[in-house]
Symmetry: C2
Subunit: 348 residues, 2 copies
């Protein structure tokens, strides 16, 4: 390390940072099939594949306990990791959970957090097999690792989309982001006037999208039953734009998304407009919807007709065409990634 | 959650807390061979076993950056997890690394942290396969998950020691703890007088034990080559007392440790006395030595004669005898756990 040079981390994007930190690592183990760069890593156990995915959630960065019930937080911390295993077309089987928390949290509060984790484990039939508990000087930190299983033939990567493939998404987008805006607004009003009782009912759907997302296990099973294997897949955690770009960059292809075909829930649309936000921008850049974004060989078009929750939103193009949004007015815009940048929120 | 009840977490020990939080989780997956309660979890992949271990390190709780070089910290964060895999008699193959850090850290500082991780991965031939980076509002958090492999026959658990077994340890104990006391003392002097240049050379050995521990991969291979399989094993992270009690409680056995046979390095002994600490207390309760504590069938006694770094320190007894320390003076004391309690240090 040069003693004199200081590069601020928030000047790099998250992916540039990860690249800078990890590119000097060599691979030593023959059974590492896939390392960094997909929803989950893939390890070969004599033909049976182990999938590993890990995520950290940090108080004040990823969640605000003023409007996030601990039970929901526990639930979300598990399911967001399971979503990564499903996005590999695998089956999650185990999780490990590590938490660090300050003495602001009582045993009862932590039990509430774990009761949400238990609900998620029960619903998706995964086993809690380990973890660590520690104190922190400030705030709550949750680190979850999900372990899944798949055969080599089942696994779907990000880097295998081909020109001509159809681009699909499993549900409406932007809701989690607009739901978050509502929670932030209600918090601001409450801080001004503690007697204020928030009216959240009308927006229950999008608030639920933010606080209690569900991974699309159901769709993974529907696709399997229909005999369809996506050519590439990712879960939408950073936003459609960023996650589509992952597929396109890693597959070395272009793409076009039709604005009019991107599913956006009525409530998302109405509330976005109230916030003077463009609904399609919320869908493209909002993130945290945990829907699946996947590509299909055009021959599979017939097979998806009977499936609910498969929305065709565009198609894969040759790389030279770039990654484009075709607006409802017929114009084409280049899609650029504008996911979350958590490092802007750091204040130590 | 009862709204009225508040139980402070630091009133529970770490193991009691883990028990309270995890005991309502059910097991759904047939391939979960071992969940919570050993150095690593065990997952069956049609005969080949995947071992999973995870640990969190928190600034201000587990390390102090005033005297912990980031490179050493990175190294230690990896090897302490590998130690858990070796303690199952497995071979570590992959790790995932998640970090959360405040904007106090520059890119150069984080690169230094990762260069230590890279050294550890290179030395122990493990692949970095994933992780997460996030910001934190305050301080540095490191969560590492290690993934290892073993056959079903190779795995050594904690709960399989039998009366009559010999108790062994792979190296001297208490050094990491006394090394930490020296670093803390030098920090206190430095804070009083910033011109002070610490003299650490004489204590290089025990400071190294604290800052740059090595997992005992070498001993695992020696035992294998000698055709010895321990009957039970654990790595000493919490201290000999606490970790021996894990073996005894889980195996439902008693034990006796002979004070005179517990290996303690001369420097550890001398420095402990300067701090008015009893050297055997440092060995029993200090922790962080990352030596292996294991039990052997008495028939294997001959086979270990040729092995360096196997110290016989006692024997396993029937459960009704309890877990005892036989002092050099011939007295017997009950061994109780007094590992770290990080929750006392939380200040949010």
């Amino acid at each position: 390390m040069s003693e004199n040079k200081r590069t601020e981390i928030n000047r790099l994007g998250e992916f540039e940072l990860i690249h800078r930190l990890t590119n000097g690592f060599e691979q030593y183990q023959g059974n590492t099939v896939k390392g960094i760069g997909d929803d989950a890593a893939v390890i070969d156990n004599s033909g049976e594949m182990t999938l590993i995915s890990t995520d950290m959630m940090v108080e004040g960065i990823h969640f605000d306990l003023m409007y996030t019930p601990l039970k929901h937080l526990g639930y979300k911390s598990i399911v967001t990791n399971l979503s990564d295993i499903y996005a590999m077309n695998g089956t999650p089987r185990q999780v490990t959970v590590s938490i660090a928390l300050s003495n602001r949290f009582s045993l009862e509060a932590v039990e509430e957090l774990y009761s949400g984790m238990r609900s998620a484990c029960k619903r998706y039939k995964v086993d809690l097999i380990g973890g660590d508990t520690s104190s922190s000087q400030k705030g709550l930190f949750i680190s979850v690792t999900a372990i899944g299983q798949a055969t080599n033939e089942e696994i779907v990567y990000r880097n295998t989309a081909l020109p001509g493939d159809i681009i699909c998404v499993s549900g409406d987008l932007g809701g989690a982001y607009v739901g978050l805006q509502i929670l932030e607004r209600e918090k601001a009003i409450f801080l001004e006037n503690p007697d204020f009782k928030p009216e959240l009912e009308d927006n229950a759907y999008i608030i639920g999208r933010q606080l209690k997302p569900e991974p699309r296990a159901d769709l993974i099973y529907s696709l399997r039953q229909a005999g369809i294997k996506p050519t590439a897949m990712i879960d939408i955690s950073d936003g459609l734009a960023s996650d589509l770009l992952h597929i396109c960059t890693q597959s070395n292809v272009g793409a076009v998304i039709k604005e009019a075909q991107v599913p956006i829930h009525t409530v998302t649309e109405q509330q976005a407009i109230k916030f003077r936000l463009d609904p399609i921008t919320c869908a493209l850049n909002g993130g945290e919807d945990y829907e699946l974004l996947f590509t299909l060989h055009p021959d599979d078009l017939d097979k998806i007709q009977g499936l609910s929750d498969v929305y065709i939103i565009g198609s894969i193009l040759p790389p030279e065409d770039g990654v484009l949004l075709e607006t409802s007015g017929g114009n084409f815009h280049k899609i650029i990634a504008q996911g979350w940048d958590h490092f802007d929120e750091s204040t130590d």
